[in-house]
């Protein structure tokens, strides 16, 4: 996160940096104190609920701690990690999670871009389109997932009937396809809204000038709009990728993780609540955390100067 930390005290705060050697005035010191005071409650809650439990999970992951055997708690070093990493379940779940993430993010990027263009440019009914698009964004994932499940149940669902009484939720790859479909339907509007933000920053004059110069709509989109939207696209991709990587609700309702459709989150949940194994569950938690950290790190390297948050302090 170093890029964000460095970039923030730019702009408005440079004067402070220059005058840092001089003793702070009474007013500046009061401002400092107030700043810390106002942030303290938020920081305490965020650390208390995330940093501390993650530290505790690291500790738990080094123990043999099974809720069924409360007297057998014992320090066993990295054995839990060894057990998880040598288990086919972990790699299967990771594979499923990566498949779902890559496919659904790719589709939501393209569809989200189309939806963003429509929300930005449509000649009439803009409010109606935006309102309609917000429904999948706002709907409770569990509620929508039940809709998809029943729609694909043979003898009961319209989609199943449409496809010759298909029962896609009973086989691995078709079930994954349904999960990905549910995920795309739910998250495309969010992607579109993030892209809409970038789209509104593209200067209208520039597009008009290019049009006058004879650029086609496609050329204007690829040569002007896309390059200018790069920061917004990267932010949207980062958020959607990490969001998709933690997929849980849709799978829990649609298949419960049967037929090899469980994601890493489903695996972690099952290890805690079905196997009652705190040690292994914690090791899985930490491994997922590491995966997410790696994805975030790669994206943030890709951002360069346009890291999210870097312009928060000085705009």
């Amino acid at each position: 996160m170093s890029t964000t930390t460095e970039a923030v005290p730019g702009g408005a705060t440079t004067e402070v940096a220059k005058g840092r050697k001089a003793p702070l005035s009474e007013g500046a010191r009061a401002e400092r104190r107030l700043g810390w005071l106002l942030c303290a409650p938020a920081v305490i809650v965020m650390i208390g609920v995330t940093a501390y439990p993650v530290g505790y999970a690291v500790y738990l992951s080094l123990l043999r701690d099974n809720l069924e055997l409360p007297n057998a708690v014992k320090f066993i070093g990295l054995s839990n990690y060894g057990a998880v990493l040598s288990s086919p379940y972990w790699w299967q779940a990771l594979k499923v999670t990566v498949i779902i993430t890559v496919i659904s993010v790719a589709f939501t990027l393209v569809l989200g871009m189309l939806l963003a263009l429509l929300m930005h440019r449509t000649l009439f009914g803009r409010g109606t389109v935006r309102t309609a698009a917000l429904i999948p964004y706002g709907i409770v994932t569990v509620a929508a997932a039940y809709g998809w499940q029943y729609a694909w149940t043979p003898g009961q669902g319209y989609l199943s009937a449409l496809f010759n009484n298909a029962a896609p939720l009973t086989t691995e790859y078709k079930a994954l396809a349904v999960i990905i479909l549910a995920e795309i339907w739910k998250t495309t509007p969010f992607m579109a809204l993030l892209l809409l933000a970038g789209l509104s920053l593209v200067p209208e004059d520039l597009l008009k000038a290019a049009k006058v110069d004879g650029a086609t709509a496609w050329q204007r989109f690829t040569k002007i709009t896309l390059p200018l939207m790069k920061p917004a696209i990267l932010v949207a991709l980062l958020f959607r990728t990490l969001d998709s990587f933690r997929i849980f609700d849709n799978i829990y309702i649609l298949t419960g993780g049967t037929n090899n459709t469980g994601s890493v989150s489903i695996l972690g949940y099952d290890n805690l609540f079905n196997a009652l194994n705190l040690g292994i569950g914690s090791a899985i938690s930490i491994l997922i955390f590491i995966c997410v950290a790696i994805i975030a790190f790669l994206f943030i390297r890709g951002f360069g100067a346009s890291a999210p948050g870097s312009n928060l302090g000085n705009r």
Binding site: A28, L123, I135, V142, L193, A197, L272
Partner: protein, 279 residues
Amino acid sequence: MAAVTTTPRQKIGWGTANFVVIALAMIPVLWLVSLSFKTPTAILDPSFIPASWTWSNYTQILSTTQFIRPLINSIGIGVISTFIAVVLASMAAYAVARLRFPGKGILIGMALLIAMFPAISLVTPLFSIERAIGLFNTWPGLIIPYIAFGLPLGIYTLSAFFREIPWELEKAAKVDGATPFQAFVRVIAPLAAPGMVTTAILVFLFCWNEFLFAISFTSTLAARTAPASIAYFSGSSQFTVPTGPIAAAAVVITIPIIIFVVFFQRRIVAGLTSGAVKG
């Protein structure tokens, strides 16, 4: 606006695109509505429009504590979490947008990290901690993590809104002898109210939607929220799948979202897009 003059062909093109989007967004919701009105025999008929209609799925779920109690939990937990998260986020966002103090970058980085945090990583340790300190299966047991996950969203959205506020007014208040804190409460907070409403909607939608913590940190009706309770619905006998009641419950928890979306479309779009560009 895209074009100076619009041809009928363009109108038809955009109109078709609008229609496709609205249809794709609405069909899955209408399917749930259709299921919720089907009689138990009609449920076994895959047609989109019910052959025979009934309110019985609704009367069934709304007459049982199995759903009413979780609905109350959902509203209570959502409102309390949202209120606290918005208050704490407003304080922090004011500081981020307005004050000079070291550590601002760390705060923003931390909020970003939490926004991207895999919730499952917290389930095992929080489950263990909550059981140890007696928060398991209570309202605060869900409210506290919801606040923590609502805060990053709140801090981003609100600091974006706060930067748009005319700060000369604050200076004027200070010249008139107000302390920075008074300037915040008396002058800025009222101006910031629209941004706070938007943020509150977004945080509430998050709490209303949340499922993983809701099934992990609750075990009875005492704190189980509505989405979690639906996953525990059982039929009138163990051999019937309660499709109708589940669909009705799904529709009931979707109604508040439709209301928010219809009445606050502009605000929600503004809130999500401002946070995205500037955060």
